[in-house]
């Protein structure tokens, strides 16, 4: 039997469009409504989600434009041209480091949630290990294959999300949405922080854009992809507030899981809808995690050109596992998540600004 080899490791613009929501939608949204409800009144949090989304879409566009102006060049090579090689190596290395932490966080969170709702007696360590092994297996394969997997999973994820929302409609109470626009400015700003950090992941464009066949078309597709989570998050947030009310949403650890748990399918022939939701959502988190790990691997292979990919993966996986197991309880896991969110968002913005400004100053060619 001959292994099927993809003709090239290039991807289409549409695959980039799907990769963005695939990495963005992960465990963050499961608890995002709680953070937003604590700092805003009633359903006002949607404004923060929208504002954060606009910010993220803007960043996506800037990064995509910048990366697309160096077609088929790796991040390391075009960053080297702009800010010299040593600096570029440090930037690349930091990307690998931060994305590794995202992977660790996702692995830990999904293990915690599965333990809480599905496997009461299985230790978190085992759950995390099993999940991580599957992720490692996926990343070891072809990179183009990962994108195809995203393309396959993503519609299913969207479908199940809309199903959860659809079956929550009969429990939706519009009075929970009032009073509108009563949040203070600082409230919105705090909400913006949580919302913006839940969109992290658009940093993958720095790396994946070099794989796109027609880079010039990519920015348009990338921002279209970024719009998907923005809309999805707003709808999910409003559904949570409408169903539970602001106070309850503040106090539910994973409002979205509870939303799925309460979803009622007419006729009651199918209870426990959350089991289906979980299965699908694990696919969403799988997407996020594989892309995250792949970015780390991708970044490191650019630095260590002579080391085989497998060696890098085998070195990284135990690191991920240890980092994932490091937080001792839910509070630590959650603050770990918040910290990663801010760090990556800040870092991605920082790199974009740095490359833009230095590029302009030094007048590097082919800068759009």
């Amino acid at each position: 039997m001959k292994r099927f080899e993809y003709a090239d490791e290039l991807i289409s613009e549409r695959e980039i469009m799907i990769a963005i929501p695939s990495i963005v939608i992960g465990v963050g949204i499961l608890s995002l409504p709680r953070f937003l409800a604590t700092v805003t009144t009633a359903a006002d949090g949607w404004i923060s989600i929208l504002a954060g989304g606009v910010l993220a879409i803007g960043m996506t566009w800037i990064i995509a434009k910048l990366a697309a102006s160096f077609p088929h060049q790796s991040f390391l090579s075009y960053a080297s041209r702009i800010v010299t090689k040593p600096v570029a190596v440090v930037l690349t290395f930091l990307f690998a480091f931060f994305f590794l932490q995202v992977v660790a966080f996702q692995v830990r969170e999904i293990a915690d949630i599965s333990k809480q709702y599905l496997f009461n007696r299985t230790p978190v360590e085992v759950l995390a290990l099993v999940f991580l092994l599957v992720v490692v297996y996926a990343v070891s394969g072809s990179r183009a294959g990962l994108f195809r997997l995203n393309m396959m999973f993503f519609p299913i994820i969207l479908f199940i999300s809309s199903l959860v929302i659809f079956f929550s409609i009969n429990r939706f109470e519009s009075e929970h949405l009032f009073p509108m626009f009563q949040t203070s400015f600082t409230g919105y700003l705090k909400g913006l922080g949580s919302a913006a950090t839940s969109y992290i992941g658009f940093g993958i464009l720095w790396f994946y854009l070099s794989l796109v066949r027609q880079p010039s078309k990519a920015p348009k597709y990338a921002i279209t992809g970024m719009c998907i989570p923005v809309v999805l998050y707003m709808v999910i947030f409003i559904a949570c507030i409408g169903v539970f009310g602001n106070e309850v949403t503040q106090n539910l650890l994973f409002p979205v899981v509870e939303l799925a748990k309460g979803a009622e399918i007419p006729g009651e022939f199918f209870e426990r809808f959350e089991s289906v939701f979980f299965t699908i959502w694990i696919m969403a988190i799988f997407n996020t995690t594989t892309l995250g790990l792949d970015i780390s691997v991708f970044a490191l292979t650019q630095i260590f050109k002579n080391t085989p990919k497998y060696t890098i993966i085998f070195i990284l996986s135990p690191l991920v596992y240890v980092t994932a197991m490091y937080p001792q309880n839910l509070i630590e896991v959650s603050s770990f998540g918040t910290y990663i969110g801010y760090v990556i968002f800040g870092y991605t913005v920082f790199v974009a600004v740095l490359l833009l400004v230095v590029g302009k100053l030094r007048g590097v060619k082919a800068l759009g």
Binding site: Q116, Y117, L118, F119, N120, R121, T122, V126, E175, F178, P179, Q182, F244, G245, E247, V248, Q250, N251, E258, K261, G262, E264, E271, R272
Partner: protein, 394 residues
Amino acid sequence: MDNRKLLHIPMYFFMIMFLTGCWDQVNIEEHGFVLGVAVDMADDGPSEKKVFSLTNQMVSPGDLGTPTSDSGEEPPFINITASGESIFAISRNMLKEVSRAPYHEHLRLIVISADVAQDPELFASMMDVFVRNQQIRRGVKVLIAEKKAKNILEINPKPERLPAMHIDMITDNAHNSMDMIEPVTLGGLHGDLLNEFSYVLPTISTHEDKVDYNGVAVFNGVNDRMVGSLNGSETIGMNLIKGDMQGGYIKFEMENHSMVFELERAKSRIKIDSKDPTNMDISITIDVEGNLAEMYGSKTLLASSYLAKIEEKIAEQIEQLAYQTIDKAQQEYKLDILDIDKMLIRKHYNVWEKIKKDWENGENYFSNSNIHVSADVKVREFGATDRAKDKEHQ
């Protein structure tokens, strides 16, 4: 090369062990499906510490099948009661008595006795256990038992043979009568516990082998403690003011004849004049539509003047019901169970921000406010016939 292949064989066996993936398996016949839970204060023992008892109603599947003979069979459920100082400890204690571990995923009903609900801090912390449990769904209904909650789960209903199922279905009939409120779910109650507004829970009582589901228990939203209750007719008044119902009837007298008005739709509009927050003017308009269902007189209904009189009479009746409830809420309980506070938040948020500390508590502006009710009744139909009897005397 061959050696490597040989090595594969033990590896496959090893992998098969893990592929079964049954760390958490529990066979379905080993689950003790709990359908209803009742919480009471334990009768015995000196009460230095609060001891309460928990009753789990478990399905006994063997007895649930098609009944072969009508008499002498076992009821299809088992009620297991245990006492202790915390719900969690009690459930663990129960494991010593029952072979099957209680499984709450299919829980329908939580019944709390009134004396537990009246205790200063017991109620909220008890509900906390239920809300916290991931197995329990948020759609579970919560009821208050007037006397012993355990008795509610011991009735012998027909045709549903499981008391918990029976009650669960009865509560769903609420939209057809006015002295019941829509069932309150655990999720809804969670919200009530978290915010400071007063709320009501439906009450239930047993009457020989039947359950009586009407009236509500009134809870103070600040300390989450039951402070009193509304009877059937006061509940009608509350429902009319809150204004979301689809069915029910109102009996009234017309020239010494009883008549019954079947209510089809009731909507209420609440207008708040908040110029003086300490003494607000609240006017409630209740729009009611419905049919004449029963009449004992024999006057023609086709005369519009007579119909107008009937409508006026019904309106009077409705206003009276509403005022009775308002009186009770304002004077006796001093708690806003009419949800006027929620209206204030929606429409007069700035005023609310100023007075929220003194609405139901402190200065109690709620009791000070002037509430005016007016009802607007429309009789749409009166059945297929004008009169079914001969004219007697006119």
